[in-house]
Symmetry: C2
Subunit: 342 residues, 2 copies
DNA sequence: TATGATATTGTTATCGATAACAAATATAAG
DNA sequence: CTTATATTTGTTATCGATAACAATATCATA
């Protein structure tokens, strides 16, 4: 049944021309007569011929890039990936996806080599910066590694990065809580070995300092991004910091757990207690009550990364490398009911 | 700087042996002396040589498969993808990802041809069955298309499918509501041009019929999976069907909106009103109150799909095709507070 | 009609790896 | 010390496409 694959030779034979002529038609070159071109096109269609990308890849520039991610179960990651896939589709690029089994993986060699074997034009590294994984990844890059674009980490620690300004976002959210008249604003952070978590915490602290609050009295607890850990962190805060009347939570999922506990304890949000999150997941508009948060443009982030990869391809880019290349996106404050004291 | 890529020839020259010997070492063949093998390995490491996958791909069986998805923003899809990536990683397979811009896309030819160009060993089609898109996709497959595995649709409508039994899951959830003593159980469905939505609705109806309820009196409204549409559907139900005392919602996100509206209206869940969802997203444990739902093993679904692709590769599989090949997974009922009348 | 410019097609070498076959070397048996 | 056998290495052709170059056909102009 499954007869052997159709090649350019089969098409050439059917058209009674040379393979080169077929190749010319495939590549839309001008030096083919109209009639020949039409005939070849027809035969190609009729036979369902598809040029072999491997053979092509041996002679042409690659149109494939790699994506290394971790934590696809997180909304932010999967949305970033969506931005990447759509932008890739738009430009006819192929995308080979690699997911790390966990955030601690730092030996990228096998993954990167597998991508290099596919002659990728570049690699988007979209796994978050946790502990010193970025540095270790960068120290362990194989020789002749294709250009890499790093997302979701410290703008300065890699040559090419596209980051979201978590510090600024957290600062915005916290300032908003202050303006709303909350006095004792706690923080539930993400795991502090994450760069993003540290930045958000830093934004919270600085906003308090700039508002003249006594920082030594404000408290924070660490969560692990998931609702369960957020719940525990909030319970610790409740007992250690009874004067707390608001909390800035480092992501929406943990904020959901805080709302949940508040509801169980009969606390009224936002009147008794203010809650703000971070990320802007779509569900947060339907929390009880709707959650104030900072919205991040993950999809734009992904699209931007692909654009950067394409730029690196272009010849003029191979000019003088001007040190590190950094782009920073800023989250937007999204005020909802959970922080709007009557 | 970026000196030309290192090839097998460079390695051969450095080792003062033929390229064939290098190739033998690369493929772990036995007919190489220990000393030669060791030397070659050392040089390969030292030079950072990586065999070109294109050149290899021209002579060897492919280790790459394609994945076509749509709606990465949905938890179910991204989790399925995670199952796929991890299973692929486990077996050293590469994965080229294609995302459809929308669910209505039925002209797969460009996508599939691009995958065929990469000589994929198979394709996992993980975009849901909406309207008659599956049939149209299958009618429009290019000739010599690699084997495809269809997920998330009607088990019978494609030759190879792995499905989740949405009917059974919905039946379980609805039966549970009945057992809890709710009398007038409405349904908020997904968009009914989705196969999955129709199946869930069918399960709801059948459970009511089997319990001897008068089906003509039970009502349902259609949502679009997102919380906003769920909210509107619930408001329509509230006015059209005032005797309603419970609702089975076709996914957790819309159920979140229902809880939200119930809270706004001062309805007490579960005592005044029962709410059950579908999907089992992790956040649903922290809704207010925690949501009863049917949990689907999306990750297992993805892993299974990869396993199926690998099986298709094996020679013994190319024996007599026995019509369609179907696997069905059943969701599990997860009872939480939102349906537990004290 | 001859001539050079232009348009169209074909030939050969090549990309990097591997299969199939051939050759050389080492080892064992008689 | 041969001859047979096993082990190790090298040579050539090949996968499918394209680049570089060569060849032919077509046309306008002097």
């Amino acid at each position: 049944m499954q007869q052997t694959k159709i090649t350019i030779k089969d098409v050439a034979k059917a058209c009674r021309v040379s393979t080169q002529t077929i190749s010319r038609v495939l590549n839309n070159r001008t030096d083919v007569s109209k009639s020949t071109r039409a005939k070849v096109r027809a035969v190609i269609d009729q036979m369902g011929y598809q040029p072999n990308a491997f053979a092509r890849g041996m002679r042409q520039q690659s149109t494939t890039f790699g994506v290394i991610i971790a934590g696809l179960q997180h909304k932010g990651i999967s949305t970033t990936l969506k931005g990447i896939t759509l932008e890739a589709e738009n430009h006819g690029l192929n995308l080979i996806l690699k997911e790390l089994p966990n955030f601690e993986t730092v030996d990228m060699k096998p993954l990167i080599q597998s991508l290099m074997a596919h002659q990728v034009m570049g690699i988007i590294y979209a796994a978050p910066e946790v502990d010193n994984n970025w540095r270790r990844v960068q120290e362990n890059l194989p020789p002749h590694c294709p250009p890499m674009v790093f997302l979701k980490g410290n703008p300065s620690s890699a040559p090419i990065t596209i980051s979201i300004d978590n510090y600024q976002g957290a600062y915005l959210v916290t300032s908003h809580l202050i303006e709303q008249g909350y006095r004792n604003i706690a923080h539930i952070s993400g795991p502090l070995n994450w760069f993003e978590a540290r930045e958000r915490k830093r934004g919270w602290e600085q906003a308090l300092v700039d508002a003249g609050r006594d920082i030594s009295k404000q408290q924070s607890e660490q969560g692990l991004w998931d609702p369960g850990s957020g719940q525990k962190a909030f319970e610790r805060l409740s007992s250690n910091y009874p004067e707390m009347d608001a909390v800035f939570v480092a992501n929406d999922q943990m904020a959901l757990a805080v709302l949940h506990v508040a509801w169980k304890h009969g606390l009224t949000v936002p009147d008794d207690f203010g809650v703000a999150g971070f990320d802007g997941i779509s569900e947060s508009a339907f929390f009880v009550p709707p959650l104030t948060t900072a919205i991040q443009d993950f999809r734009g982030l992904g699209a931007l990364a692909v654009r950067k990869i394409r730029q690196l391809q272009e010849p003029e880019m191979s000019g003088p490398k001007v040190g590190s290349d950094t782009t920073i996106l800023t989250p937007k404050l999204l005020v909802r009911q959970s922080t709007q004291k009557d």
